[in-house]
């Protein structure tokens, strides 16, 4: 199990769980980053943060601090 916040550019895998205690978790779910969906890290900002994740045809940028609540498994 890894956290989305630990990943580098190009990493891809599947979302296992999203901790929804924070406002960001529920928003991520609503935007369609769901447990079970495949994702890929498609961009990392020049200073290493935030990162952009593509999943199910939607690209979402998020800060690593908000990405820490997303548990993933890598391909």
């Amino acid at each position: 199990m890894r956290r989305l916040s630990e990943l580098a550019l190009g990493a891809s895998g599947r979302v296992l769980e999203i901790q929804v205690s924070g406002a960001s978790g529920q928003r991520l779910l609503a935007m369609g980053l769901l447990p079970g969906s495949a994702f890929r890290v498609v961009a990392v900002a020049p200073m290493g943060d935030p990162l952009t994740v593509e999943s199910m045809g939607r690209r979402i940028s998020l800060r690593r601090s908000d990405a820490a609540g997303v548990e993933v498994e890598l391909d």
Binding site: G22, A23, S24, G32, P46, T52, M56, R59, I60, R63
Partner: protein, 736 residues
């Protein structure tokens, strides 16, 4: 045809961000729009009429959101409008939901939440052209059959499908067509029933099921507060525990259930190519968000934006200035013999109108760029690139463009904060935007550096000082933002979740429309305040103006002049209003009037406050008169030093006059007023101070007068501290 007084159906337009919702709104309503704010919040409210045959409806454009969880201010407005809970608004009769055909299941999530509200609905299946390009085909009729509401394919940017949409809305309202709602597992239904009972017992209110589910599913829902259910939290927590015991996560079940149902519902309706076509966006993104190339392109683009607001606007601003002068010259003869009316019209009203209109070129150019950056999809990438740089002090990546534009002018800069969704980051950006060194400060720098720094220290140091002055405000803004974020704003940090929309080719029509919207809004909303401030200052500088002042100056002037020449030539020279002597006298009288004016008296009274910064009463009057617009300082100094008001910062006479000023009395009697530390203190004061009525007015309109007052007070306080520090430290270093 329905008359304007009969109530027409009210239709709410909802959708995810970047679905073309606003474009569709413009296509439906055309120019028949009204723009305002929702009561109490700074979320924009746009409404307009549209018709289908002789059926007419009112459409209101709601902020783009992903869900009805009411976690952000935008979402809360959408929820409150749809529920009819916002004071001064009526509950809509139907909903038009815009979905992006390229990403149907993700977009239908919001529609599925809205369906719970039980309003008639129509789905606008937008961007079908982009979907086709990607090889995606959606069976609209099949979708309509399964959802139970009309589904109309549209291409908002070209206006395709818009008439069909209006027809469908008319049908949905008259036939009360509602979208099928999500089915919930047994434990959720039980929990909702239990919650309903608890709520009725505690408050006597029977909440609709949809709202009960929101209370159950959303952490920190605003609904209990709205209905006055104080003890909701422990009750809800207990019920959520029961859900957990049934292996249902109360915060995740909603999304899982809705998306699960949508996926099943869409089965067989969406045809995708077997191998996803590598979208253009992907390869463009690889370049535009690249560590090196992305940043270089970003810097180049921002340089272009800044240069254009700074440079391209100048000829238009000059044109407005000269038009104003021509109008003045043309109408001044009408008021011969009525000096007070002439001055009111020319120095008050015309200056007031001019000071509003002069901002239009910069606003138009900046918003042309913002519209292009947003419509192409680049704005989200720019925010992505810059977020890290700004996040640590409470701002976010979207603060960059407004702050950069404020270097040209804070008025368009503050208006540009509309692009920041997070209310805290937006307010912080608004509050520090006036500290960016705008182009109106340049004349003050040029005057002071030209008069006092360059002659003594040479062009290199002068250039370095000019450069450094542009960073004074920024150096102060960063700790200010950090402390405001840390100590003043108690709002919880908003997650920075930003969708990177696909790149699109912007439409000229939409860009022009956005420019027009912003310019019109600025003129209507901020224009009146700016105008009022200009008139007020005019009055303060004009009155009381007793004739005795002019007489005393004239008597003394004639006495001085008689000593130098015979009274015949003197009389002849004074009889000719164009003679140097007459002009000299007129300038002296103007100077005396300013000294005697309400503002002049205030300047003398307040001077002790500015004494620690080394300012004499004349500089103080200059500072006070510059509060509506800082560039006024040059003209005011010209008048105060009896040189007339038609000077610019390059004026040699003004520089020499300043350099020749000495203290008439007191401990420093006979020494120059303007030493290098004083000149630097004046520059630092002008670099920081919020001497711009237009900016204050725009801040008030974009937030409220309380924040505008706060911004004005804190920035002015910082300017005073900065000026005093500069003078005191400078005097010890440089001597005097």
């Amino acid at each position: 045809m329905a008359s304007a007084t009969t109530r027409v159906p009210l239709i709410a337009l909802v959708g995810n961000p970047n679905t073309g919702k606003s474009t569709l709104f413009n296509r439906l309503t055309g120019v028949r729009q009204r723009v305002g704010n929702y009561p109490g919040v700074t979320v924009e409210r746009k409404s307009g009429r549209f018709r289908s045959g002789d059926w007419e409806a009112e459409l209101i454009d709601l902020p783009g959101t992903y869900s009805l969880a009411a976690a952000s201010l935008d979402e809360r407005v959408v929820v409150d409008v749809l529920g009819g809970h916002l004071p001064g608004t009526t509950r809509p009769d139907a909903v038009l939901c815009v979905v992006d055909a390229t990403n149907l299941s993700r977009n239908l999530f919001l529609a599925s939440q809205v369906a719970d509200l039980g309003l008639p609905m129509v789905i606008a299946l937008n961007c079908v052209d982009a979907a086709e390009q990607q090889g995606i085909r959606v069976d609209a009729e099949g979708l309509a059959a399964r959802l139970g509401v009309p589904v109309v394919p549209t291409v908002a940017t070209r206006g395709e499908g818009v008439p069909a949409l209006a027809t469908a809305m008319a049908r949905a309202v008259s036939e009360n067509l509602r979208m099928r709602t999500t089915q919930w597992p047994e434990p959720v239904s039980d929990a909702v029933r239990e919650l309903a009972d608890a709520c009725r017992a505690a408050t006597g209110t029977a909440l609709p099921e949809a709202e009960l589910r929101r209370v159950l599913f959303d952490a920190g829902s605003a609904i209990p507060e709205r209905i006055g259910w104080d003890g909701a939290e422990p009750t809800v927590a207990t019920i959520r525990e029961k859900l957990r015991a049934a292996h249902i996560h109360p915060f995740a079940i909603e999304t899982l259930q809705r998306y699960g149902e949508l996926d099943r519902l869409l089965e067989g309706l969406v045809a995708r190519p077997e191998h996803a076509v590598g979208t253009r966006s992907e390869s463009i993104d690889a370049l535009l968000t690249h560590r090196v190339w992305g940043l270089l392109l970003f810097a180049a683009l921002m340089y272009l934006v800044f240069q254009s607001v700074y440079t391209w606007a100048a000829p238009f601003m000059d044109l407005i200035e000269s038009a104003k002068e021509q109008v003045k010259a043309a109408i001044e003869p009408w008021f011969a013999g009525m000096p007070a009316v002439r001055s009111l019209v020319s120095d008050g009203i015309l200056e007031g109108v001019g000071s509003v209109v002069v901002f239009v070129p910069q606003i138009a150019i900046l918003f042309a760029f913002i519209a292009l950056l947003e419509d192409t999809g680049y704005m989200a990438r720019a925010a992505f690139l810059m977020d890290r740089l700004l996040a640590w002090c409470g701002l976010n990546g979207k603060s960059f463009v407004p702050l950069l534009s404020s270097y040209a002018c804070a008025v368009p800069g503050v208006l540009a904060t509309r692009t920041i969704e997070d209310p805290k980051a937006r307010l912080l950006t608004i509050l520090i935007a006036p500290l960016m060194s705008c182009s109106a400060r340049l004349p003050v720098y040029v005057l002071m550096i030209g008069a006092f720094v360059e002659p003594r220290h040479g062009p290199w140091i002068a250039g370095a000082v000019l450069f450094a002055m542009h960073f004074v405000g920024l150096a102060v803004a960063v700790p200010v933002a950090w402390s405001l974020n840390r100590f003043v704003f108690r709002m919880p940090a908003q997650p920075f979740l930003l969708e990177m929309p696909p790149y699109r080719v912007p439409r000229l029509r939409d860009v022009l429309w956005r420019i027009w919207e912003r310019v019109r809004e600025f003129l209507v909303r901020a224009g009146t305040a700016i105008f009022a401030i200009t008139i007020l200052l005019w009055a303060l500088l004009y009155f009381p103006r007793p004739a005795a002042v002019a007489e005393a100056v004239r008597t003394q002037f004639v006495a001085e002049a008689e000593a130098a020449q015979d009274s015949g030539t003197l009389r002849a020279a004074l009889a000719d209003p164009e003679s140097d002597l007459s002009r000299d006298l007129a300038h002296r009288i103007d100077g005396a009037y300013v000294e005697q004016s309400l503002l002049g008296r205030a300047g003398r009274a307040i001077q002790p406050v500015f004494a620690p910064a080394g300012f004499d009463w004349r500089i103080t009057v200059g500072v006070l008169s510059s509060f509506p617009a800082r560039e006024v300082i040059i003209a005011t100094l010209g008048v105060i030093y009896n040189l007339g008001g038609d000077l610019d910062e390059e004026s040699g006479t003004l520089r020499e006059t300043l350099a020749a000023q000495t203290w008439p009395e007191g401990p420093r009697a006979g020494t120059p007023v303007y030493t290098v530390p004083v000149a630097l203190a004046v520059m630092v004061f002008f670099a920081l101070c919020l001497q711009c009525g237009a900016t204050v007015a725009v801040i008030a309109k974009e937030s409220n007068w309380l924040w505008a007052t706060f911004a004005f007070a804190y920035v002015t306080g910082l300017a005073w501290i900065g000026a005093v520090l500069t003078y005191q430290v400078g005097t010890r270093w440089f001597g005097s």
